[in-house]
Amino acid sequence: MKGLRRSMLFVPGNHPGMIQNADIYGSDSIIFDLEDAVSLQEKDSARLLVKHALRKIDFGETERVVRINPLDTGCGTQDLKMMVAAGPDALMIPKATARRLIEADLMVGEIEAALGGNRQPLAFIPIIESAVAVEEINELLKASSRIVAALLGGEDLTADLGIQRTKAGDELLYARSRVAMACCACGVDAIDTPYADTMDDEGLAKDTAKGKTVGFTGKAAIHPLQIEVIHRVYAPSEAEIHEARQIIRAMKQAEREGKGAVAVDGRMVDAPIILRAEKLLQQAKAMGVHDMTDNVNGGA
């Protein structure tokens, strides 16, 4: 199973104290931010700091992502060129459109070819933060084979639409559904927009659950304290794990007895439900909340 991407923590790219400690908070990914967290006067400084950090610091199993500046700016192009050589796991590309991703793919390909060696191809995580990006999401996600996930950028999207961004998030319902659906269709992770109020754990949990309900597979965080809440929401509950075990147990029992139909607590269980149960148990195992060998192969 691929690595987890339940939480992605934004870290200012010009702050050494935050960069070098970023992996201790337990997020699945760290996003070194060269865009919104860095003033125009310090873009050059942040770029070099992140480059050197990526080369020297061991962040363990945590995915290392760099949010570069928009590619229609000089800073964006400079960021891209330096970061390809620095070797993060992925580039997060703001203001993404299908055209910009195609251009980025070509640029990165040329640089990787020039650098040579046995490099892991650099992955892309586009940020969907404009009405155009939401509407062309299917075309956008197919623009490059490097795309492994997409992040919904709620603040910029609502600004583009000229509407208010609220805690309730009703204004994002269409965009969330569309992005999550398209990501699932393309086999990439769907990462939900950050929750801006870092003091409101209850609101964060509700907002995270909303995203999960429509199909998001993770959420961006802007403060380390948000990570635990996000992981809790994305972890299968004990009841869900118990039900999934029952389904898998019943399926195996039916296989042993040569029966085609599977029933659990009097309910017929068909292929999609079995598949969902298998995925849930795999996720639970990856999150460390369940041992897949525990009683699943045995009897009742």
Partner: protein, 90 residues
């Protein structure tokens, strides 16, 4: 790289280093280092600074480095940034 003008990089925040550079007519780089751990790590910090100067091929520079507990990668980065800024044309 020619040092054309004074420049700075970094901050005085914990974990960072503040670097100021200016042109100098002296042949060898003039480096002033301030650090709370000067006795324990001064030699390594100076080595990192000198290596960065060599990589950037810089001579004729006067530099002040105020260390606030920065790791090697941050020292290299801020020194390189200050040098690049000092080498930019007006």
């Amino acid at each position: 790289m020619e040092i054309r003008k004074p420049a700075q990089a970094g901050t005085m925040e914990s974990g960072d280093v503040y670097v100021t550079v200016e042109p100098s007519t002296a042949e060898e780089p003039e480096i002033t280092l301030e650090s709370l751990v000067l006795e324990q790590y001064g030699h390594q910090i100076l080595q990192t600074i000198r290596e960065t100067l060599e990589i950037c091929r810089v001579t004729g520079v006067k530099m002040t480095v105020r260390d606030r507990g920065a790791l090697e990668y941050a020292i290299r980065s801020r020194v390189e940034t200050a040098l690049l800024r000092a080498g930019e044309e007006e």
